[in-house]
């Protein structure tokens, strides 16, 4: 009976839909955001991710697009994987920093051709496991994964259920930590702080009390300036292991690769986006530039636009080339 109602409502809705949009095909993958290009403005929608490095890219791109090229820029928070779907549908125009999603890249860039590669960001990213320097200095052998189980008892927390805690940030970030812990037979529990900000808060708290911790972390990251950390060596990355991991994510048993971070644009936007698309393709800076903006935002608590303005003022030589 409920089904009948739903069916009735759906039929009615679709009738209305047909009345309004005509009887042709309506490809929802070509329908952009209803807020884009409203009232005669040229607008660009950037996907913004929650880690501060990515927000630094977006902040600077937004600032330059608005102040130098006269666009209106919208930022929408979409997590990494859904961002690909949104990008292919044209609901966002660009992803500024992608940490490597081979499955999505194959589907959208090579097969469906709805997303276009927009070149490197100029920053190389590396994900890994880190311990604080003060802990590594006291116990030099902790930096090899084979010795991690020795320290599990010291790394216990209330949330880690009797095992050692491996602190992860947001579940949306690229991570195989659960598989790694399993496959390397480590006596550890992956604990998600929930967000990168929460993870940073916890790391700082640990560092303040000089307590040991083991955390998922990545480079480039400004936090290294405040809390010096040493990377734990995992079994070395190999292409064979990487391909195996792509096919079977639960089987990963080696370190994360060092990857060149890339930008991606919606294919239509890349063709017809004019100045904005050209600008985003040319956008390329270094680890130092990104960290400078990121630290302004995260440490000095500047709003994104002010941090971007500060950097833009100081480095015209870098961004003039992008326009």
């Amino acid at each position: 009976m409920r089904g009948k109602w739903i069916a009735g409502a759906v039929a009615l809705g679709s009738l209305g839909a047909f009345a309004l949009t005509g009887c042709g095909a309506a490809d929802m993958t070509k329908q952009g955001s209803p807020y884009a290009n409203a009232a005669g403005t040229k607008s660009v929608t950037l996907s913004v991710q929650s880690w501060v490095g990515a927000r630094a890219n977006t902040a600077v791109a937004q600032y330059l697009l608005e102040h130098e090229l006269g666009y209106r820029v919208d930022t929408v928070q979409v997590d990494e994987v859904p961002a690909w779907d949104a990008l292919s549908q044209g609901r966002v125009d660009a992803i500024m920093e992608d940490w490597g999603h081979p499955e999505q890249e194959k589907r959208y860039v090579s097969d469906k051709k709805t997303v276009a590669d927009a070149g490197d960001l100029g920053v190389t990213g590396h994900i890994g496991w880190w311990v604080p320097k003060y802990f590594a200095d006291a116990h030099p052998d902790v930096t090899d994964w084979r010795n991690l189980n020795k320290y599990a008892a010291q790394l216990k927390t209330p949330e880690s259920r009797g095992k050692g805690q491996l602190l992860d940030g947001s579940p949306s970030y690229v991570t195989h930590d659960k598989a790694l812990v399993n496959n390397l037979k480590l006596d550890y529990q992956v604990v998600f702080a929930g967000s990168e900000a929460a993870q940073i808060t916890q790391i700082k708290q640990f560092a303040k009390d000089r307590k040991p911790f083991l955390t998922y972390w990545y480079e480039p990251q400004w936090l290294f300036n405040e809390v010096p950390m040493v990377e734990v060596k995992l079994p070395p990355y190999s292409d064979a292991c990487g391909t195996k991991g792509e096919a079977e994510p639960d089987s990963v048993d080696c370190a994360y690769p060092t990857s060149s971070l890339k930008k991606f644009l919606n294919a239509d936007f890349a063709r017809k986006g004019g100045d904005a698309a050209r600008f985003l393709k040319n956008f390329r800076w270094t680890k130092r530039d990104q960290n400078e903006v990121a630290q302004l935002m995260a440490e000095d608590k500047l709003p994104a636009d002010k941090a971007a303005a500060k950097w833009v003022k100081a480095h015209p030589d870098v961004w003039k080339k992008w326009l």
Binding site: T21, M28, S33, E196, A197
Partner: protein, 649 residues
């Protein structure tokens, strides 16, 4: 919760006479029957499937089929006829409509929108509402939130229009046909008891991330109150009047339009009001699936724990809620609308026209903004340094949060997760049967089992432990305040406007202050849930206690009962139905916030939804969403009193 009060037979009472009186109560007899059944069946269940969490043998993994369904949808979204000729059109219409409203709002400019809102508020609810509207829109602009506010408004306008249409049609059908009403009513009741998060995943599966799915989720969430109240309004028309109209020879249509609908006006307006408030609440939460607007600003800020930015976007949401509520509840309570002098209206109309013509810059002027983000963040940092821990004697908020997590939530969660699954099923059956019917019991037991079958037993118990603890806190505080409200008119008058405001606020905004106070984790989620559920509990319990028969009160006073005795032995038992309803509401409301608490580190089922969305792993998210729905259904049925309580809402 109320375990102890509903399982009195389990306590060994040596006094047989007492036992016999107990057994005369139907609730006790039911629980006894269940206990016997449990004693007989439990060993078998234990022998067959063990006594840990839900047995693997009895669960079904839907992950694989769902994952391949998701992949199929993504691959065929631009080619299959189902998407091209059906879903594509739905999405197209929604996007077109939102775009249209948005463009109109932008074309009106800030002056036009503000004055227009004031005009509408004045017509519908009088001068005070108009002033509120003007002030609120001005604040939205001042906080530099004009464009996001307009986006949320545009999305809301489309979603509310669709909800009202769908709701009114369903309500009309249910109001005119008994059979439809009988079928529809439990469905609508259930839909209103489910947390908003449960509605997000199915639309994302079909439509992806974006405004169209956000609008659809909002419609599904906001239409039920309109349908419910339309049906109730049409059904409660005075039969005498109907007979009179009929004797005048009116046709069915005329009867509906000239008699039934006008007589149901109050309920229809109330339905509109509730639909709008629920639409706002959902439109904000739907930022998780790409709704943009104010909700997205809060979401961005929460994911970076930027309290200042979250507050800057949260204040407009609160103001929008107040304006919409004041404006749409104006006519429904029967008091005449105070509009003041008619000239006020003309003046407003003139200002609207002037604003429309004069403002060439449609956005809020760039210079007219106040940056609240930095001062708020500085204040928050000060709080982190000074209030979080180490205050002599009372600790700090972070200490409280740690104690609540360590001493209350963890033992409760571990206890629930260690509880044998058949024990949990029996417990739920006992609770549901003691105050409900066999039907509610069956639904509750089936829902709980469904969670197990879906393979989400562990996280569901985690969520359940958070709900139980938060409900306990809510009830203790809520009943205490309700007693004060029932005792003193003055307290009631003081509290009423506060409760009014708190009850209209979207769930999402409660997450902002608690993050500032308690950081991230399960404790802030619980705090938000308690604050969100309190107003409803205080209101319902307070009304119940106040309505306790004055004669009973008087006779108890004359018998020399102390205030305490009077409260416990006269007022509470007399208000039993209202108190049970308050418990039910507390459970439903707390669950809804505990679930979205996943955005601030709450864990449990809500977290799996967030996780599924974040990783694009819709299978995980969908299964978790379904489990949330089951948990909501189970909790609702376990606490649902048998008769008529729902109409008091």
């Amino acid at each position: 919760m109320s375990t102890t009060s509903t399982t009195p037979t389990l306590a060994t009472a040596p006094d047989t006479a007492r036992l016999r009186t107990l057994l005369r109560r139907p609730a006790a007899r039911k629980v006894l029957a269940l206990a016997v059944a449990g004693l007989v069946l439990a060993p078998f269940a234990h022998a067959a499937w063990g006594s840990g969490g839900w047995p693997h043998a009895l669960s079904v993994s839907l992950d694989e089929p769902l994952r391949s369904a998701g992949d199929w949808i993504v691959d065929n979204r631009d080619s299959h006829w189902l998407f091209l000729y059906f879903f594509g059109h739905i999405s197209n219409v929604i996007i077109g409509a939102v775009h249209l409203v948005y463009v109109v709002l932008l074309a009106l400019g800030w002056a036009g929108v503000t004055a227009g809102a004031a005009l509408v508020a004045w017509r519908a609810a009088g001068v005070r509402a108009a002033v509120t509207a003007v002030a609120s829109f001005a604040v939205c602009g001042l906080l530099d939130m004009w464009v996001p506010t307009m986006r949320t408004l545009a999305l809301m306008a489309v979603a509310v229009a669709a909800s009202v249409l769908v709701g009114a049609l369903l309500g009309l059908a249910a109001g005119l046909s008994d059979r439809t009403f009988r079928v529809l009513r439990p469905v609508l009741d259930t839909m209103q008891a489910l947390p908003a998060f449960a509605y997000l995943l199915p639309v994302v599966l079909v439509f992806g991330i974006g405004v169209a799915p956000a609008v659809l989720a909002t419609v599904v969430y906001a239409a039920p109150p309109m349908a419910r109240l339309t049906a109730l309004g049409l059904r409660s028309t005075d039969p005498g009047v109907m007979e009179a109209v009929e004797s005048l020879g009116a046709t069915g249509w005329q009867r509906l339009v000239t008699a039934r609908l006008p007589m149901a006006r109050k309920q229809l307006l109330l339905g509109l009001n509730q639909t709008i408030m629920m639409a706002l609440s959902m439109a904000v939460i739907a930022s998780v699936i790409g709704a943009d607007g104010l909700g997205d600003r809060v979401y961005q800020a929460l994911s970076t724990v930027d309290v200042g930015a979250a507050l800057a976007a949260g204040i407009p949401i609160v103001l929008l809620a107040i304006v919409l509520d004041r404006t749409t509840s104006g006519g429904s309570d029967g008091t005449p609308v105070r509009r003041g002098h008619p000239a006020v209206g003309w003046a407003l109309a003139a200002i609207t026209a002037a604003g429309f013509l004069l403002t060439r810059s449609h956005d809020w002027p760039r210079g007219w903004t106040v940056a609240v983000t930095e001062p708020v963040n500085r204040a928050k940092d000060w709080m982190v340094d000074h209030l979080y821990s180490g205050i002599p004697g009372i600790g700090g908020t972070a200490d409280w949060a740690a104690h609540y997590t360590g001493w209350v939530l963890d033992p409760l969660r571990d206890g629930l997760q260690a509880l044998p699954w058949w024990g949990a099923v029996l417990l739920v059956a006992a609770l549901a049967w003691a105050i409900g019917t066999w039907r509610t019991t069956l639904t509750a037991v089936l829902s709980l089992s469904a969670i197990g079958v879906l393979g989400r037993w562990g996280s569901a118990m985690d969520t359940l432990s958070q709900v139980i603890a938060a409900v306990a806190v809510t009830l203790v505080i809520g009943f205490a305040v309700a007693v004060a409200v029932a005792r003193s008119r003055r307290t009631e008058r003081l509290l009423r406007p506060v409760l009014d405001v708190f009850q209209t606020m979207p769930q999402f905004v409660y997450l902002i202050p608690v993050v500032a106070l308690f950081g991230v984790g399960r404790a802030p989620a619980a705090a938000a849930a308690v604050v969100y559920a309190l107003p409803a509990v205080i209101r319902i319990a307070g009304e119940g206690l106040r309505q306790a028969d004055p004669r009973a009160m008087e006779s108890s006073t004359s018998m020399g009962a102390t205030g305490r005795q009077q409260l416990l032995q006269v007022q509470f038992p007399l208000a039993r139905n209202e108190l049970l309803l308050a418990v039910n509401q507390a459970v439903v409301l707390v669950l809804s916030v505990v679930i979205i608490g996943a955005l601030v580190g709450g864990g449990g089922l809500g977290y799996e939804v967030v996780f599924g969305l974040a990783r694009g792993d819709l299978a995980t998210g969908l299964v978790a969403g379904a489990s949330i729905a089951c948990l909501g259904l189970m909790l609702d049925r376990v606490t649902q009193p048998t008769k008529g309580a729902r109409d008091a809402r």
